[in-house]
Amino acid sequence: MPRTVLEPRFSVEYLSILDSDGNLDTSLEPEIPPETLRRLYRTMVLGRRLDERMLRLQRQGRIGTFAPIKGQEASQLGSACVLRPTDWMVPSFRETAAMVWRGWPIEKILLFFAGFLEGGQPAPGQPDLPITIPVATQLPHAVGLAYAARYRGDDVVVMAFFGDGATSEGDFHEALNFAGVWHVPVVFVCQNNQWAISVPLKKQTHSRTLAQKALAYGIPGLQVDGNDVLAVYAASREAVERARGGGGPSMIECVTYRLAMHTTADDPSKYRSEDEVREWERKDPVTRFRSYLEKKNLLEDGVEAWADGEIAAAVQRFEALAVADPLTMFDHVFAEPPPHLLAQRADLAARLQAAPPDGRAPSGAPPAPTPMRGQRVGRP
């Protein structure tokens, strides 16, 4: 019996609309309402400035370790912005700008990274999951949400975010497999920022693209220029519309770059060259989008000052909220605390009464950095 071809050789498309030199492919240019374009730019700038502000807050010891988004504004906003408010967003831990777009108050994000669980609480009715830290483990949740929405007959699409490193995790493959078999309305958005802490993409996978991994599960996979907000928008709109129309899940690989460190506990100079970073700085998604808006006469004045004002006000609100009542740690373990938890709560209450702690972040000397995945603890 001869060998026969069951599947024709697959192909993976790459989409770019606005390149780093500002050249625009008008035949592919998506129609985006001017107000959306302005809001996108405002949020990109806000995301960038917030990143910088958070870095200072972290260095001052006012928040703990966090994962900067610098360079990835287009890939997370071009995708999240096509969702309706009633759609669901499932973030990992590097989607600050997308979370702001989805209505997370900045002070909540700051609370989260300052070690306050209150920062993980979405507003009542807000269809967003909180930040998930274990890599790729949020992806099956997205599939379950989509299954449930379809089970209930709701017109809902779920968008889930993850990075290049996540594509090595079992949960990524299981989630894509389940999504394919169940044909549920999920859009998997991979922010391929080239580095999983110190491990470059070429050591993460032997595949030419990450998008092609979706094809093995019978799911469309598309690679886009993740620093081109127009390309990310076009690809995401196509995928979300397909999901909404009953066409099942998709995966989008946004080829982008993490311009900053993995987290504030990481030192990228140990594993990558300045030249590489310079090269990607040239492809900066924010400046590229800015020149596009300029040409369209849609650029507003004072966006940076507006963003700084929003952030400053949020930092003030954050500082007012950042007061820990340790007793609340018992509030949300179970719906009703069982006797042993009540006893432990009473024990802590008695201790607090004897010696009340100062719940505020200490001033003066910054506290020891929060250990997190990727940190080299005890490095001289």
Binding site: G120, P122, P134, T137, P140, V143, R152, H340
Partner: protein
Amino acid sequence: MVRALNLALREEMERDPDVLVIGEDVGVDGGVFRVTDDLQRRFGSRRVIDSPLAEAAIIGTSVGMALYGLKPVCEIQFSGFGFQGFHQIENHVARYRTRSQGRFHCQMVIRMPYGGGVRALEHHTESEEQFYAHIPGLKMVIPSGPRNARALLAAAIRDPDPVVFFEAKALYHAGKEEVPEASETLPLGRARLVREGRDLTLVAYGAMVRVAGEAAEVLAAEDRVECEVIDLLTLSPLDRETLAASVRKTGRAVIVHEAPRSFGPGAEIAASIMESAFLSLEAPIRRVTGYDVAFVGFAREKANVPDVGRVVAAARETLAF
């Protein structure tokens, strides 16, 4: 017990359209132990889901369904395979209420057959309840017979918190028990007094309840010793009050479980008794458990799983102290 569990699932699915069943072979096949038999025919393949073979995604997608407001009951075919989904349980199932500060919670049940007694291979005979009982935010329930299995499974499905529900394989087809016509529930976190006594407290759960009960019979007949037998039913949260009240009366306790001894449930139960009834104790608390070996293979299983003889011997040593 298989039929009782099946009945509970059917009743809860009839009662609440948000209850779904998901797992490997739970649909057409009705589960490898037939606990989900006939449910797919009755409720359709969207409510009784034959999932791909992946424990992490069975549990992980159930998390998503629960966050949306459904009440999935997932089946892990054997508790030995629970570890392939353990990170989803520890990282998410147990924590979503805390992480979201009450905005979300996982009302879901994870059923797993556990324990020895069915001449099965590695990963099909172990007892892993201690891993789940240790996790804050999770409830750990282990029925000991048809009637309480049906009532506890119904209660677990209705409970707003996630429940890991262990079913002793040795009990699946062991013995018959009348169950009432109408659906019933038992409160989670409450132990059951199987037998009253004043001389010694035997603490057990799951398949070991029968072993403890038979040991109590032997001790009553041969030693004129009256054992109190406590069936925990819920391992976590532990019914510490019932344990304390019993040992305050008897002054002696022997704990029986299949799981390996070190850092096992017996350690927590003993510590709890020490904290609440130390001055009543007449003898050290003893544990009759599986040995601290990785696994034994069913050819040697009898030597590892506690039996009546070992429980009686431990009770006699405790009484003679």
